[in-house]
Assembly symmetry: C2
Homo-oligomer: 125 residues x 2
């Protein structure tokens, strides 16, 4: 596989934004190295590199909450990936649909889908 | 400002996914440190830290393509931010609306909005 145009960081990693392909909800951000990207393309399911555990992991390998990959895009600097996926079940290990379920700012007057845990907002002062 | 719950990396940075608040298109990914986040919250416009130039930059400060910040969310690990913005003009320095305008995989049979530069696809073999 010739992916030489992609820029991996000094750890050999590239950040990956994961978006539900139909609702366009951003589900999570994780990291891949070249091998995880290879596994993803070959299997059609999202594989990542765990920085904390230093292992490859297939999303949903234990929970069943797999991500079927619809498309992979890369940005103008070729140093970030955007995955369009079909998320089975939920993306977040907390049981939330998306990992981005808490709002930092503002806590009101927003015209985007409401977060589910306003009580967890980080105090701004 | 008490943002102690957020986790910045060893460089003092946190990745930021930027999403158009109404269309939910992912526009770009950039980086903030605590000071950039502070400037963003205080001004209501997106400020980032440039890793290559080692300076703060307000998105659109020269192009006029500013980002009005509608909401800031953070993920379950508190180590990634998601900005909902209203992007004036285009997000990408190439003139594209989004920085993610090129598709890596697959190059056809997708049910998401078409990319504009299929000719730039990275060869997979």
């Amino acid at each position: 596989m010739e992916l030489a145009k992609l820029t991996f960081d000094e750890r050999g990693l590239i950040p990956v934004v994961v978006q539900q392909h139909d609702t366009l909800e951003v589900l999570m951000v994780a990291w891949m190295d070249a091998e995880a990207l290879d596994r993803t393309i070959e299997s059609g399911r999202a594989w990542y590199w765990s920085r904390s555990r230093q292992v490859y992991w297939m999303k949903g390998e234990t929970s069943g909450h797999i991500q079927e990959v619809k498309e992979i895009r890369y940005d103008c600097d070729a140093d970030t990936l955007l995955l369009f996926v079909d998320q089975v079940g939920v993306a977040c290990h907390t049981g939330e649909r998306t990992c981005f379920f808490r709002s930092l700012y503002p806590v009101a007057d927003r015209d985007v889908p409401a977060t589910t845990h306003d009580g967890d907002n980080i105090p701004l002062s």
